[in-house]
Symmetry: C2
Subunit: 471 residues, 2 copies
């Protein structure tokens, strides 16, 4: 058949499905192709099963606070790992089912198979050749496992198979202390598994602020052995696997490889596009249109390796879906950066990261939560929040934190940065009592005190009265 | 002595101490007078001890989720009420100590005793007469206990003495289902005390939106007997106390009276001021200056009964402290309204309340949390959030909710309302995944769909492209 489709979407993950939503509003002349099981990374092996595991781990960990609260019986509590994993899969199946529903009614327009580009407007799928005016590539990413480790077989887990296990081994190493490694190492440790964590980088969880990083390392290091700054080597030994990194050596049963994820571009045929590829084999992609150079080809979601986060992947799918059905692609504004690691306390990075800022033009405000009122009442009094503001204008630029309720505070700050709010404007909002946001206010006040217009009061006068006169 | 002071502050609670902070920056010629124990309502008998109790109750309640998570041993857990109360007092003592520290170095300028106005510039304290150019009244409020109940003696608790108990009775009635009643009834019930709650009003927890109110009643009503719409009568019977309200009758051991708080204005001498008093005995008070009519007298905090919340009391103290030390009082803008009830799920009311809105000019967006992704993962999938926006402009006006993480979502909304943000502007912020804020986004999108500029996408284009064309 030589029918020319309007759009081919390759990949039915979060980005591909978002693209589908836009495409089908505007044309019915499309297909969506998916390799392997349908359902998104997020629902199948990513956000959802990991958070289900984390919620169980945190609920169990809370027993450490019971004696202090006046609750008895913590010593009798045990964790049933197979039951935890069964619940994880039960929820996962449900979330996967709801993503699969999106493509169920598509009939022949949903094709199972591996797609390979033949040209900017031609794709081979299952020995069938498809032509289309627009191609959206959304093939996602896969966990990185170094080649030599493949011989170690079933003792190497990734998030692709961790949640499939009936039970978990007694001793595990988590290799890689980025967001996924940190989340999983803490959760597995809280579930009673002896965890040794290794990171080749001295910064963890995507942090760039040395002080927040130190605080996060100190907090996490109380829960499991945390070894940073050296590359880990694995060897099979009679009692299991030996991990060695610098002077640290541990024998464990299994390894969770959390070394990052790589774009699924192998055998995709990107070399058939009339554009140069970089050393990673990636073509140039415009982040505002998601277009590959000036072709009618778009790359969205994890596969483009620009911002491998669900909410960004969804945006990219929408943008490409819109642009693939328009004659002239449109530029879209991208969102204020926001990354959250669901450790406890939460790690979050919002807006401009510490390392991106010009320290000569930036003020830093800070709060620690060890003595914060509400945090003490609830026994979650640990962590730190650092805020960055433009010295000249007082405008909030970014934040890094390892803080209780960090996921919520990060959203409030993301909105503030997105709206270009100043420290003074933020201090005008009500802060209830007793709440963790009062900690945020402390950090804001420490910024306000450094600003030229700083006054001892958060109050705004009505009319022209100058608050500086108050001091 | 006939020295004329610059300022007399009557009351060393949250409002009085905030006033003190401003006054002492500008003059040393002041006194602060306090009747009864030093330390604020908040720290002694209010926010802090109540939240300490609630945190223990919620930690204990979480055991109901354990079996589903895969955690065993919930059946062996017990609560040690005397230990819970000891922790409450230990924390309270610490918070009280830190408030008392504020006045410790004042020497003779801090006077223990009951103050009575003799004129707008004269006060009697302990047979001593003080003259001052400015008087700040911050005498706080006290729990209401109807006169007939006083004969029932120690079986009637208020928050003034509840936390002082060594242990708690097996059966209690909580009378009054406002914010304090709801918080305490749920917490006491979660601590294993058999609770019967009574409210004469059909709306609870300060809510005005009937749908949010219904949801809150349904959720709380699962935990304890909740009886609304009839006035409760108390009588002593042989087995304890009998509470009767309409057809509902219960015999309990003790009662927690949560019928509201009344201003501490008795015997304060307000009638000596040359201004008219209203039927409650209250003089006219300007909320922007906290000034009583045109006198150099200010009334701040709970005593003025305008917004008996800690953060408002603190603001009022600051405003009066500033104005009492200036020749011409200044008007201050007050904050966006925010009230939070620390029930689980949290109840919160932000900005304009449902009942204040003109329904012909207001759009309502809604989300329920029973199927919300993150809420399901953590087993806190219950509750509702309703948002109110101005139909013409899309500007967010207010919200009422009984929702998981409501205290955090309420702060984000308070900031949005304070900054006059529109629904479209809010939808521009990043919403991470999986978070409860995605529930908020659902409610925002339901508003966006009703707005004329509503588009199927939250994305903003760069430049002049019109998003309406996207549909």
């Amino acid at each position: 058949m030589n029918e020319i489709l309007d759009v081919i979407i390759i990949g039915a993950g979060s980005a591909g499905l978002a693209a589908l939503r836009e495409v089908r509003k505007r044309t019915q002349n499309f297909v969506i192709v998916n390799d392997g099981p349908w359902g998104t990374i997020c629902a199948r092996v990513g956000c959802m099963p990991s958070k289900a595991l984390i919620e169980a781990a945190n609920a169990y960990q809370r027993r450490c606070t019971f004696a202090e609260f006046g609750i008895q019986g913590a010593d009798f509590m045990t964790i049933d790992i197979p039951a935890v994993l069964r619940r994880v899969r039960r929820l996962r199946d449900d979330f996967v089912a709801s993503t699969v529903k999106t493509t169920e009614d598509l009939g022949k327009r949903a094709i199972s198979g591996r797609a390979r580009l033949l040209a900017p407007n031609r794709v081979r799928v299952n020995d069938q050749e498809l032509c289309a005016q627009n191609i959206i590539i959304a093939t996602g990413s896969s966990p990185i496992v170094p080649n030599p480790w493949i011989t170690l077989g079933k003792r190497i887990f990734t998030t692709d198979n961790l949640f499939e296990q009936e039970t978990l081994p007694a001793r595990m190493a988590v290799l890689g202390m980025g967001p996924i490694g940190v989340e999983m190492a803490q959760a597995l440790s809280r579930l009673g598994i002896e965890i040794v964590g290794f990171g080749s980088n001295k910064m963890i969880a995507g942090l760039t602020d040395p002080q927040v990083n130190s605080a996060a390392i100190a907090l996490l290091g109380r829960e499991f052995s945390l070894n940073l700054g050296e590359k880990a080597e694995l060897t099979a030994v009679s009692e299991g696997l030996k991990v060695q990194a610098g002077s640290k050596e541990a024998v464990i049963d299994s390894v969770l490889a959390a070394l990052g994820r790589r774009s699924n571009i192998d055998n995709l045929g990107l070399e058939t596009l009339p554009v140069p590829l970089d050393k990673h084999g990636m073509p140039p992609i415009n982040p505002s249109t998601l277009q590959v150079a000036d072709l009618r080809v778009f790359m969205v979601g994890d596969v483009n390796d620009q911002a491998p986060l669900l909410h960004e992947a969804a945006d990219e799918g929408h943008i490409a879906g819109i642009n693939a059905t328009r004659s002239e692609p449109v530029c879209f504004a991208r969102r204020t950066p926001l990354a959250i690691v669901f450790s406890d306390p939460n790690v979050a990075v919002v807006g401009s990261r510490y390392q991106e800022l010009d320290s000569t033009k930036t003020l830093i405000g800070e709060v620690t939560f060890d003595k914060q009122g509400r945090a003490r009442l609830g026994q979650y009094n640990q962590g730190i929040l650092r805020l960055y503001a433009e010295a000249e204008s007082g405008r909030l630029l970014g934040a890094e934190m390892c803080a209780p309720a960090g996921e919520h505070i990060a959203h409030l700050l993301a909105l503030s940065i997105d709206r270009s709010l100043t420290v003074g404007e933020l201090l005008r909002m009500p802060f209830y009592h007793p709440v963790l946001e009062e900690g945020l206010r402390t950090a804001l006040r420490s910024l306000a005190a450094q600003l030229p217009a700083g006054s001892g009061s958060d109050l705004a006068t009505c009319g022209a009265f100058n608050s500086e006169a108050l001091d």
